[in-house]
Symmetry: C2
Subunit: 189 residues, 2 copies
């Protein structure tokens, strides 16, 4: 839980007492490779803070084809936010690619922390703002049709992940064919 | 400015005194058709709350081709958020399609309001959260390759805009060719 404190204090300083209150809302969960934290149709009880491991958030279409929405690694927050905030059934999947640990936070806990502590309202606002800006960048990647451009933007955004995630998944994330991506990898070396 | 108060009170009640403080940070601006509120390379001084009119946020590539990131209408907030929050030169354009009025808020004003009033920190967090969820939906539209699916999702998200915006721009927004979109329009009638 010390890492939770470090994570929060990157945005706002908190006292020992405040941290005790905050940590009481989080539960630790170990996650195995291939385990699903969310599946389509589930009630989405938690938002997750990644302590370790790598995770994939994706949709499927009627034919079962996967569309990767995001990859998450250490210190990222992840959930099916539309379902989490609106309390509607999950429309996506959250799967563990590399095993690790996550901290779980309910919507009740999140809202309670934000309403009782201005500092935590601030923390969640800043995190959400950064997430919003990251999604705008993601849209920019998808809008630029040129595969070369998409690949370059991805490499800038995820310098670590690009080494650790199978190329097939990166191709899905970028909306490219596997062969197109292989060509770009070769050219960039 | 009364509309600003109504807008804020949809999320949190405020007193007359609080509203006087809040309104002091906003300035009103009339916008003409074709006017740019932001151009690539600009310092991004403001976030805008749309009172009336329709606006288009877009990127261009090296060849000058446009990629529409979002359309904004009444009660939407808009800016080049990456540049606004990080105080870096604008990477996109914000253009007025249908004339109207906007309220302008500096980053200094935004952060001051959030730090001095827990209620406004809450307001901005809630707005940013909704914006984040909307962007996730936008990504979902872009990831689904089937043009029919993209069009249906767009029609659900923007039932009003779809009547008011030229088809050419909707095609750019959806990453579709103009002819493909026309076919979908015809089929959906």
């Amino acid at each position: 839980m010390d890492r939770l404190r470090l994570h929060i204090e990157q945005i706002t300083p908190i006292t020992d007492e405040e941290f005790e209150f905050i940590r009481s809302f989080f539960t630790l969960k170990k996650v195995r490779k291939g385990q699903y934290l969310i599946q389509e149709g589930d009630d989405v009880k938690y938002e997750y803070l990644v302590l370790s491991g790598i995770y994939k958030v994706f949709y499927t279409d009627d034919q079962g084809k996967e569309y990767v929405c995001m990859f998450a690694q250490e210190n990222w927050w992840m959930s099916d936010y539309s379902s989490y905030f609106n309390q509607t059934p999950a429309a996506m999947y959250l799967e563990c690619l590399v095993p690790g640990e996550v901290l779980c936070l309910t919507l009740y806990g999140r809202e309670k922390l934000a309403s009782e502590m201005h500092k935590m309202e601030h923390f969640f606002r800043v995190k959400m703002t950064r997430g919003f800006v990251a999604l705008q960048q993601r849209i920019k990647i998808l809008l630029f049709n040129a595969p070369q451009k998409r690949y370059e933007e991805f490499a800038k955004l995820y310098p670590v992940l690009i080494q650790q995630i199978p190329k097939k998944m990166i191709a899905e994330f970028l909306g490219l064919r596997r062969e197109t991506l292989s060509r770009l990898y070769t050219n960039s070396k």
